[in-house]
Assembly symmetry: C2
Homo-oligomer: 154 residues x 2
């Protein structure tokens, strides 16, 4: 299980890297169904001028098209950084049973850091959550991005 | 102000009605900027087979395209029913300053009913929220939908 988790988190990190190269906050996601990636995405909020263009949302969009269903049952979503409220909400709307993320986000994380949307007992869906997979790589690329960002601001 | 709120909530209700006619849970939304509707949408989750196809998400998508920016500053979103976690999260991601909704939703509402994503002091954006505008109409069409839905299930 851990090996598979690392394998797919590497794919999410590859997506995060595409965001980095595009000058966007480097967060990436992939969705896996029956050992196959059926959706992938990375943050492109600035380039697209669209607040919905987070990696998880793009990956869910692609996966729903693949499945022909709004229910992404038996899927796992891998995301490099703990999901924001919008993405955590989309994950439960899609009924994704399992979420694997790399590093926590203390500013907007909704897998327990600020709110716990992924595991709110009053909602009609709760996720199994695994965190800390390739955590160092996930947070390293974020630090690299914000270091460059601050340098460009000087 | 109330008159404008009612005027635009009628437009959101017209969107909800389109969802009703399509056999979808009847929730609708419009986004207003400088006294003009720049985005509209209604729930089409089943027909589109896509968990992202809530009215608010479609309206935000359209409004971002109109503005050419992910920041929907100086906009108001009107939605017939209190937003779910995904849509409340999208509203704060889009930095929409004002949210007007009709009726509360005790099962997934994130404008205070279950969680309060629209006004979480630890996030970097909080919304001014007005609720109860054309509340009866907003909840009536939902009741009508679920009554028909249950009848079809019998």
């Amino acid at each position: 299980m851990i090996n598979d988790d690392e394998k797919y988190m590497r794919e999410a990190l590859a997506e995060a890297n595409l965001a980095f190269e595009a000058g966007e906050v480097p967060i990436g996601a992939v969705i896996v169904f029956e050992d196959k990636i059926i959706g992938r995405g990375h943050n492109l909020r600035n380039l697209k001028g669209n607040p919905l263009c987070h990696g998880e949302i793009s990956a869910i969009n692609e996966a729903a098209e693949f499945m022909g269903d709004w229910r992404l049952e038996n899927c796992t979503i891998y995301v490099t950084i703990e999901p924001c409220p919008m993405c955590a909400g989309a994950i439960i709307q899609a009924r994704i049973p399992r979420v694997v993320f790399g590093a926590r986000n203390s500013k907007f994380g909704c897998g327990g850091s600020i709110l716990n949307i992924l595991n709110e007992p009053r909602f009609n869906h709760q996720c199994e959550v695994t965190e800390g997979i390739l955590e160092d790589e996930a947070s390293e690329i974020m630090k690299k991005f914000f270091k460059r960002f601050r340098k460009n601001q000087e």
